[in-house]
Symmetry: C2
Subunit: 132 residues, 2 copies
């Protein structure tokens, strides 16, 4: 396994650099930017959940879109997807350790959003009034 590639000429990125347009870190930032990723991870931080539990916890999310979100999280190794061959079917989503390591940063962002939301709403209102 090649983990230390700093002697190579090509960019191998053993750590990542968000300011490099060619670095896969951009993909990671895109994922966090996916509309329901943050909420899904936050919900799963309390424990494994089923599809409908996630859907109801988020509220007003189309099943297709939630499926897309969860597939991408699974592909990124942030969650696991367990299917139980029962009737009615049961699918349980669980955070992996990698996914759990994201809880801290994500919670920082959502806490910030909750705390500063009033200020942002106020700024939006005055901006809209000025340009009206």
């Amino acid at each position: 396994m090649v983990t230390n590639g700093e002697h190579l000429v090509a960019k191998i990125f053993s750590r990542g650099d968000v300011f490099d347009p060619d670095c896969p870190t951009r993909v990671v930032l895109d994922r966090i930017g996916d509309k329901w990723t943050v909420l899904s991870v936050l919900l799963l931080s309390k424990g494994p959940l089923r599809f409908t539990e996630l859907r109801d916890g988020i509220g007003r999310v189309a099943p297709k879109v939630l499926t897309q979100t969860l597939r991408r999280l699974q592909r990124d190794g942030l969650i696991t997807r367990e299917v139980f061959a029962e009737v009615p079917p049961r699918v349980v989503y669980t955070l992996t350790p990698l996914g759990e390591s994201l809880i801290g940063p994500i919670r920082a962002v959502s806490d910030w959003a909750e705390e500063h939301m009033p200020a942002i709403s106020a700024a939006q209102n005055s901006y809209d009034l000025d340009s009206a």
Copy 2:
């Protein structure tokens, strides 16, 4: 100014709750999800920048899209936009105190992205191999 609205029946949201679909916090999370918001704020965290400096710092972003991003950040009260009537024209973008308060949470996320990017890439590869 009404800041404590907990005695009202209607939702007035003095703080925000990301799990409530009707809460404006969702708008804030959407903004962070905008493709270039995080990078723009990170770049501006080092000091005010001009339009082209931001564009070059991000790399491969269409001017139209960068303009959209910056206007939204301005509307949210996260940055200010100063125009100097010179030739050639000069426009300087600066983080507001509100914008500066976002640096911490955003840096937590981007640091996480840089640190765990190799693990994510590996997970993606094995996922793609399995489904191939």
